[in-house]
Amino acid sequence: MSGHPQDRPTPEHADWARENRLFEIRREAERKGYVDADTLRVAGAPFPKASPATGYYGVPLLKEPQWSWEIPPYFFVGGAAGSAAVLGLMANWVGGDQELARDCRLLAAGGAILSSALLISDLGRPERFLAMLRVFKPQSPMSVGAWTLAAFGSFSGAAAFAQIAADRYGLPVRLLGNIAEAFSAAAGLPFSNYTGVLIGATVVPVWNEHIRSLPIHFGMSGLSSAVGILELMGHENTALNTLGLGAAAIETLEGVNIEASRKPAVEPLKQGTSGFITRLGGVLSGPVPVALRLAAAFAGRRRSMKLRKAAAACSIAGSVLTRFAWVHAGHVSARDWRLPLEIALRKKGLP
């Protein structure tokens, strides 16, 4: 403690202004448990302090989701594939658009294959994927989802296979293809949106807060992207524009809903990186395609298709971003130690 003589000023040459500043800092630290400084962000407090206001030193109670990068793309692909199966059925039997129905079958089957690959590669033990089909547990959205994927994959695969067999080789499998298509659409209905239930029925606050809207949100996002992919493939059926418009309108409502909410659990959807991605995804899947598709509905054929393709690209990008945003927000939400402990206070400078 000897040090430089200037370290221990004697009263006659003490700079009292600076001495008082030290006293001020000490008072602030005593009063607040931390000191505000531009270069210093103290996590918790200089003296470790557990309290009803900071929980257990602000250590998060919940564990963060441990899914890897495959899961947001899985949500996107599954949503688009499931919706495509339903669109295919309707295009075939109601719209009478065989070209569209064929592409829907191929899209559904391709999506099912890609979904399975993404899901399996995310598992900690991919070789044990079949353990998913050991039991059926209706109370577990993951179990329901795994079975739905299995059914959807089988039927959409069969429908696409029959389509190719009939088109290319003239095999008499049209009836089988139509039956498979119907079952594929039936499985596609839950498959397009179950991922909303999957993440909603968890302990992650930002997810379970939106359990009522997430399946609709994800379902409409999936429909938009299916419509978008089909339009980019060159399909001009006006039903696609109508559906894209409807889905984008519902997505706009969801965005308004999120922005209007003042609940602390919703913060990750509005702040930070996750908030930015959410908003970007929301704008691209909501208002932008709504405007473009409305304009397309009243434009001439050529211009209309251009506008629709622009809307399609926006919706697809928005849909991908939306899935990444929600997963990212889930991580942020799980790290927020205040929420499960029901601590409303957020002091500036605290983690």
Binding site: K49, G124, A239
Partner: protein
């Protein structure tokens, strides 16, 4: 007929020796989880996780400003050994799609390591942040309630190693009585801030690991209203049905409209 058992962890008796952490790791062959300084009192373990099934919390309070500075008598420093709560309605068990997570004959929640495929859905289903996937191994792990030891009539390793009987173990009814008696005893001695943590009034429906703590349970990272996420599934599937309806009828009407043209 096996007895339903429970832990009763009495934090007023805990001396923070971490014998439970060591005993658990040794008995269960759980890997070390690094030597990291947290800065949170003497707790350098962090939290329960895939390689930490017992975790001693060091709940330390600063002395109140203006009431004697660093006078040791005014600061409080209590310890509490945390563990999987083995919920009556266990979020992890309900969420597990493979059936790897089961309820044992002793009432504990057990992850069968030969079935778990590492989907990590249990991780986001646990309201206490207990179960976790080991990234190297790929599977999820947590406290087994020493199922192997209980099978042969032994007490769990942590309870056996605890030198102060802060961790008690026995039939659940007995543990509830012991906890209640202890609480009354402490209250009679003037320790008014003591309370039992056992969330029976939430969807978790009570636990097989009761805690006696002093002060607000939140400073021990014990949530006031832990919920098993199964409470959300009904609303979720209803919304899913609405979304499916929108898709089905939306596309029906859209294609009806386009077919006319």
């Amino acid at each position: 007929m096996s007895t339903t058992t429970a832990f009763f962890t009495d934090s007023t008796l805990c001396i923070g020796c971490k014998a439970c952490e060591v005993a658990c790791k040794e008995w269960n062959g759980v890997s070390a989880d690094g030597f990291n300084w947290t800065g949170n009192s003497y707790d350098n373990t962090g939290s329960v996780g895939h390689s930490t099934w017992r975790h001693v919390k060091f709940v330390e309070h600063a002395p109140d400003a203006g009431l004697g500075g660093n006078n040791a008598e005014l600061a409080s420093w209590v310890f509490s050994s945390d563990v999987c709560k083995h919920c009556e309605v266990a979020g992890c068990l309900e969420a597990c799609p493979t059936g790897a997570i089961v309820r044992t004959e002793f009432g504990g929640v057990y992850v069968q390591p030969d079935i778990c495929n590492g989907c990590s859905y249990c991780v986001v289903a646990c309201p206490f942040g207990v179960v976790q996937r080991n990234k190297e191994d790929g599977r999820a792990f947590k406290c087994t309630f020493c199922y192997d030891r209980q099978k042969v009539g032994l007490h769990p390793a942590c309870a056996k190693a605890c030198p102060t009987e802060s961790i008690k173990f026995g039939p659940i009814e007995e543990m509830k009585v012991v906890a209640k008696d202890r609480l009354e005893e402490l209250r009679a001695r003037g320790m008014d801030d003591a309370c039992i943590y056992d969330p029976t009034d939430t969807s978790v429906g009570g636990t097989h690991a009761l805690f006696l703590v002093r002060g607000d349970p939140r400073q021990y990272n014990l949530p006031p209203h832990p919920e098993a996420p199964t409470v959300y599934t009904k609303a979720g599937w209803t919304s899913s049905a609405v979304a499916a309806g929108l898709l089905l009828f939306g596309s029906l009407f859209a294609f009806l409209g386009s077919a006319k043209r």
